[in-house]
Amino acid sequence: MWKTVLRRVLIMIPQLILLSIIVFMLAKMMPGDPFTGLINPNSSPKEIARLKQAYGLNDPVPVQYVRWIKNLLHGDLGQSYIQHVPVASLIADRAQNTFWLSLLSTIFLYGIAIPMGISAGKHEGEWQDRAISVFNYVTYAIPGFVFYLLGLWLFGFTLGWFPISGTVAANASGFWGVFFSRLQHMILPAILYAIIATTGTVQYLRTGIIDNKVEDYVKTARSKGVPEKVVFNKHILRNSFLPIAAFMGNTITGLLGGSLIIETVFSFPGMGKLFLDSISQRDYTTLTALIMIFGTLTLLGNLLSDIIMSLVDPRIRVK
């Protein structure tokens, strides 16, 4: 088990190196440099050249790359051109916001999708299943931003049940005050996101249950006199969760990636919004750092998914 994990981590190293080279090349190809916007437009070209020299921008590209990597490994992601703060602290802030929002979204997502998937699979072809499949079609067909805007307009502006932007009320105080204010800011986006993201999970679970309940091993379990409830929970359901477990790792690391659309619609200062902002503001240091982070998260997510799968499915376990 641990050997497999170690091997997988080792395989990740060249992947990460490749990713970093691509990201670095992209950053080099982008217009502008660390001084764009930082220095006074009246600075003489001589002054700029001196700064470039001082920051090593005249060094050969490989030297610059190695320096960049060294800084990365020390947690130094550079300065944001626009916000004039270290990218690392900017991201740390946003990542925290995103993490809590995503965690809440995921809890809602599974809280809604799993009972729906089970009900649809259990009652295949009956009214529960048909109602859920209508729900699935609708949520699948509606574009996310339309749905979010509708929700924001209805529950935020019109009914005024939830705040419409930000993460915490300015006047919130005390641990619990801040806690509840944050929660209040996150509930609407989290629920809206969960509702519209259920399709995949519901479908995988439904199909899994329908396929598994006619499997021979289920007949075997019944032939032992195992009560139907146990047959369902212990045999059918466990096997039906495998496809969901296959994505679990990516879902978990995705918690830090955030959602571009929902964070933008709700002006929620998270990773997704930071990503969009850094594109529109041409904040290239932040952008490259984010791409590097998203890439790493994807690789880690795959690794985590594999580890989870090997924990739940003995056929995948490697000795």
Partner: protein, 333 residues
Amino acid sequence: MDNQQNVLLDVEKLHTGYRLQGEFYDAADGIGFTLKCNEILAIVGESGCGKSTIVSSIVGLYDRKNTRVEGEIRYKNLNLVNLSEDLFNQVRGNNIGMIFQDPMASLNPLMKVGDQVAEALLYHTDMNKQQRRDRVIELFNQVGMPKPEAMYDMYPHELSGGLRQRVVIAMAVACKPEIIIADEPTTALDVTIQAQILDLLKKIQKESDSGIILITHDLGVVAETADEVAVMYAGQIVEKADVKTLFTHPLHPYTRSLLNSIPQSDGDKDDLHVIQGTVPSLKNMPRTGDRFAARIPWIPAEAHEVDPQLHEVEPNHFVRCTCWKTFHFQDEG
């Protein structure tokens, strides 16, 4: 000669129909037989004749909404026809053990094989965890698994087909059931493994005085294992006899055709007989006249009974229809 005391299972006028587009069609159409203890009863016939339908009717493994079961299946003082799910759960695994065709598919891939066998004990005994484990290891020994202790913690994919089928057999006999039903237990296995599994079934039957219903489409398996044989065609039993009589004096055209189609190791290949046509599908099954007539078209219609009955032509030798009296193979002129 029939000792009523010995009868384990008495099936009478069993009709099992499946709903197809709103209507029920009987896949088992008036089945009757008895199973005694210390007996291996084989039910043989081509695929689609309704053998598995009989099995699922006995143990209640059918979809209640789309299946109609009528008639009588007596086990002790219990009629198993349309028993409640709870009562079936008390009988299944406890009084009746089941073995299925494909050992690759009949074990849960996510559970240790030992735990899967122990699960049978969980619902029918009051053993604690350790006792169940010990019993499973004892069972693994009994069914000839090497290193039974280590086998307990294996997962199905780590075992060969033959070993998996031994696990399934251990599961079936865990609670010492009086009746064991094996539905094509060797069909999915290699020939060499087949013989071992059949020997194991015979051994278990002898040790436990149980009765076994062995479902197969392979007369070779019947010859090797069975005491009594029922030959089934298109939802009905067409011939029933003890194994010796059936192989030496087969009467019904279907039985004779089946026997004729077994490759004889010493025989001439050219003699190999293939039965024309196929078993009709459930919807197209003829409900009147001799159901097998369509596959022996050279036999004149008058040779068949209008409503073929099962006749006892000799003590304990039953044949359906009277066409056997004049039946000959096509090339016999």
